[in-house]
Symmetry: D2
């Protein structure tokens, strides 16, 4: 597909989608954002970025951070898979049931308990390492944690603390819970734009190769992150997302979604209005249109 065509496509999608749904309400800083905002960016392997809407407006990446921290953890020698599984969870209704049944081992790195384990695996300084990685891949050295969001999340962190202490009671926590929750909250509170995120996601489309040509992950590691994204990346709507979009993707309650077309491009779409399962309404719609129009679906 030619560059010209991709830009037209991106513009067409931005023109056609109708933002809807409701922004996440549990944090004031997220709740007051206009639900009709919309941004889209597609970064291709040859270095171009096609953009539409509010593509350069930063938003809270929230759970999208989980895809990156998983990649960083997999880049270490130390095996994270002994501490967290790789299977879909059937969340949310059984999150704690599962954790109890499976003795403190979360089902996958994208449910909160699993992401907390991954953060603990990265240890003290996890959020700063993530920031460093995202700045370099996006080429945007100004990326940072949104302090207001971070504070608000810390004030509402009882559920995550419960999960962390619960896993600690099974011996699956290396650092103090306070430290881990703090790193976790800072990661989720990073603010990025669609353009930033599309660029930062490109290493997954490049089978693990970073912006500067070095490898973060081997081909197998990148495939693993993509597989986890496809089966577990959109909360309890992974089956529906696999059908409608048919690409590995990871969403966040800030309204952003990243998606990967292996060997071709990385996409980031943002619109704060969420459906009942926590995925951006306009975001899923835009990705659905994108794969329908390009034919770049997995199936």
């Amino acid at each position: 597909m030619a560059a010209m065509e991709l830009q037209q496509l991106v513009d067409r999608i931005a023109a056609e989608v109708t933002p809807g749904g409701t922004p996440a309400g549990y944090i004031p800083a997220l709740a007051r954002i206009d639900p009709h905002a919309f941004g889209l960016a597609v970064a291709t392997l040859d270095g171009e970025v096609f953009r539409a809407g509010e593509h350069s407006r930063p938003f809270s990446i929230q759970s999208i951070s989980k895809a990156f921290t998983l990649a960083l953890a997999l880049a270490e020698n130390d095996d994270v898979w002994t501490r967290v599984g790789r299977e879909p969870s059937g969340s949310p209704f059984n999150s704690l049931v599962q954790l109890e049944t499976e003795q403190g081992i979360p089902r996958n790195p994208f449910i909160n308990a699993g992401a907390v384990v991954v953060t603990d695996h990265l240890g003290l300084g996890a959020a700063d390492r993530l920031l460093g990685f995202l700045r370099q891949e996006s080429g945007n050295p100004a990326l940072d944690v949104d302090p207001e969001v971070a504070k608000s999340e810390l004030d509402h962190s009882d559920r995550n603390r419960a999960l962390a202490h619960f896993m600690a009671s099974y011996g699956n926590m290396r650092n103090p819970v306070d430290v881990v929750v703090n790193e976790y909250v800072r990661q989720c509170s990073i603010a990025m734009s669609c353009t930033d995120l599309a660029k930062a996601t490109l290493f997954l489309a490049r089978h693990g190769v970073r912006n500067d040509g070095t490898r973060l992950l081997g081909v197998s590691g990148a495939k693993r992150v993509n597989a986890v994204m496809l089966t577990c990346g959109t909360y309890d709507a992974a089956g529906q997302f696999a059908y409608r979009v048919g690409l590995p993707g990871k969403s966040g309650v800030g309204g952003g979604i990243i998606a990967v077309v292996p060997g071709k491009c990385a996409i980031c779409v943002w619109s704060p209005g969420l459906d009942v399962r926590g995925n951006s309404v306009a975001g899923v719609d835009a990705l659905d249109r994108f794969t329908t129009l390009t034919g770049w679906s997995v199936f």
Copy 2:
């Protein structure tokens, strides 16, 4: 990839895999099969079939039948998705919990409860319709239910009857439980070879088009079956299968696995030795090698 190469590849895989694991033990007829048997068949869109090992030896298709009954149900006007979900389940440990939490609506068509609903949706004669479809697609009019396996399964059908009555108590069963369980058991007890199954699966690689050029499903319907296979097709190892194989697939406790490379081919591999999650050890290994050697993975 040329035909010559595919045959070499199939031969190489058959030579390299080491069958292992244990046959399913809950039914005598399945338990006494040699766990080291192995067969492989790859059917391409242009009509060729590449084979290795015991590719023409019939085995019990068991849960592989679920992929076909889902396709048959989707081919009807009547919407089956109001009665069964499309999300991974995190089975097995919470199967009944979920059914209770979600008021008698199974999570997806590939857990037993979901397949029972799909069978009920097809109604009386479901097994005969499935047989008719499989005979026509495979070109093998001799395909039939293995009466010994069917009898053995009927004698061990209490769990499935429990699921069916439980769903009936929520109003999610149209036919008498006896009728539905009988149809369900007959479907699972059909005996087919790798060659039969690879051919019969081709309609999913053809985006819904049958052997005779007519459509069973639209493109969207075929994509749906593939998406459900990728996210839910291998019991509680879908994440691991997505990573190792990276293709839509459906396994059965008879040791068979079918897989689809959309637009290219359908594969069936068989070896009765199972891992702890109920998937064929040599079958997963063979598919892993196949996608590694061909590069025909989704990611």
Copy 3:
């Protein structure tokens, strides 16, 4: 307490309670009964019966039958406690979870799954044995199953069939599910009056001795039935009942409740209006008043 006083007390209670709540709705035959009906009978060890209200009007005993079938099963040599537990369940929300976690062994004989096991233990003819026992103890040879209620229950027996098949899948069912469910339904559908039930319950106040002076149970067996009634006899309100009434009791969704004052008397109260947990509103109130006025509480 003198006979005169007991009659005054019974009259006073009947005058003071205000029937309320809603009759059980899942069976038409039960749903259309006047929720304000009220009856009370107290049978003492010396053979007197003190009555008030509609004490001689038959109603559907429903789960009250579970106390009697447990007693009949304990009277056999064959040990029923290997097949059913004796602990409170925290029902209803986890009934099936527990059954799965505890491998087909119900928590106690008063949840449906447990009562089905007890019925299976008694085997074919269980309902007739129960009828025979109740006729003899109550001195009312006309007692019988209400055929309309029995039919209605059979038509709504999917949940109980699910439980029975589920336990059968764990090997905890001796007779065919059809047979057991039929016996179970007939037991629940027996119609008795407060007077009938108070008399029939006297053997528990007599520490196991029947009307004719023979023993159904040893002292230890009678104590066991009373202990199960106190901890598990009123669905998920056993703690509340223990506090308000402080006596071993067993309720049914037909609106009846039996209670035992060991060494003194047996009580039956009836009023069809139920609270959210399935216990008769006026029934619990009347028993609360009875123990408050007599001081005959356990605590």
Copy 4:
């Protein structure tokens, strides 16, 4: 029963029971105690105490503290029942399931989550208030927290912190988790002898009246504590305890059990060897013999 007889009875029980089982292993300070130690004390309403074995040796009261903190909380005007239920739980296997299903409201005050809520209800200084009460009722001003046990428990408090944060996420925690867990741990770590505990429990046998003749609880409040003890006081063996002992009782993993004969006496027995459900083997046996020999059972 005369004083002479009670002393003989107590001596006979001490001579006949055979301590067994295994001390609680999760805290070093508890694990290294001789499992064969045994003590018994019966305090009657007229002020006498009958003793046998190591009746004056202090042990860790652990969960026995829950009966006293419940009584202290009920003595306040502020209603604790809006924050914790009164029904048996079917613990342990579903503790967290229940908490999630019931939106952060623990089932009863004797499971850990419920006791944490009661402690939070008493607030900062809860442990000191408990100590003050126990010193006064036992007449032993030297009672105190065992600092070694308290430290060990604090080091293993992740599960309780998880429960507290989980309830906080539902809004059911007034004080900071750190404060509440600290108070809770100190309460559990109080060391008392059988004689101390039997005396301190007398107010429940006196229907709420303290040592000095003032009331801690009304008759109704004392009945409530007794009812909760009977239905929930011995972990997941309340049904079995109700049958064998037939008295309101509360056990702790330190090996102690208190029991109440309303209107007659309070009993404390201690032996550190536990059965699989966490109750003292010799303790339950001794209480079983006590009620059998005296006939002072509820049933």
